[in-house]
Symmetry: C2
Subunit: 195 residues, 2 copies
């Protein structure tokens, strides 16, 4: 095969979840269906690549002109903001359709190892938005890891006395979870937070 | 997320071996690393898309100017041709480095269901190449399926009396294969072809 194909194979095989074998399958599939599949995919890639930006309002990654599709959606309420770690979490919450407010994307948690301090959370920007839109509640939806909980704690401290209700996601037994397979930490939390 | 990203996700999730979840992972990974990963990948895709063609000589799919990288490789012998079903098989044989001749890619087997008749095999073109390059041997390397063996048989019949040695790949026990896990067909062939 030509050097161009080799480079493409190498690049695809390094994408998350893929390897040399799946890269070969994908490239062969595209080569065989040049006009029906390869061309539309390439066009789609180009479109997204050219229009992807960080939303200046909520720091979501989206194909945007001014603000992202969530910030500009008039049907969503502006007085509730959900703080999340990254865009993957935003997409996950959007799939549940349970939340119709705005987001604040941290794009990373506090981490001394990675050298991410409080300034990387853009909390001043969040506070300004809260004041401008008269936000009533901030939901902190971070992972139940050490770094997630540390960041949760930091944001709570930062927002204290700002007359905004602050809530965090509930911890407990996941749906379909069987008691004897749960780890002690989850079981302990589920007991403590019983209602 | 914006409509462009949705279209891209849909297209990626339809690639072989991928689904909605892996498409999301890949797209998020690319969005997060726009300059280091997304741009080089897009460039690579564009390069391959613009230069991919069917080799007029062996019908291989490659990024080519005149003929494919195998046909133009001067270090490969021209008097032996391996007949294969598709480009995936060509790549597989090239990975073993056991063959240094030329190929003839059928791009599909004889199949009455798919309406692929003998004209789709481009055997006249193969014969012309054999005459021009004084080919001594043709190796038929097709799958051990009904259609593969039918096509093998047809090509053998077509090439009979042309003063070219014709061989097919050996059938038998695969490397690492344990006797009691083999199917009867393979075991039978291995017994018949014992040496």
């Amino acid at each position: 095969m030509g050097p161009d194909i080799k480079v493409l194979l190498q690049k695809i095989s390094r994408l998350p979840g893929l390897g040399p074998r799946s890269a070969r399958r994908i490239v062969l599939h595209l080569l065989k269906h040049r006009d029906e599949l390869f061309e539309p995919l390439l066009l789609s890639f180009t479109n997204v690549f050219n229009s992807i930006k960080v939303c200046p309002c909520c720091r979501n990654l989206d194909t945007l002109v001014d603000c992202c599709s969530i910030c500009t959606d008039k049907s969503r309420s502006r007085d509730i903001i959900c703080v999340i770690e990254n865009v993957a979490d935003l997409w996950a919450i959007e799939r549940t359709s349970c939340f119709r407010g705005q987001y604040h994307v941290l794009n990373g948690l506090l981490s001394s190892i990675e050298g991410r301090g409080p300034e990387s959370l853009f909390l001043d920007q969040l506070l300004e938005r809260c004041r401008k839109n008269e936000v009533k509640e901030i939901i902190i939806a971070l992972s139940a890891t050490v770094e997630g909980q540390m960041t949760d704690h930091y944001i709570r401290n930062f927002l204290v006395d700002k007359r905004i209700k602050i809530s965090s996601l509930a911890h407990g037994i996941p749906m379909g979870g069987e008691l004897d397979y749960l780890d002690e930490g989850t079981l302990f939390t589920a007991f403590s937070a019983r209602s």
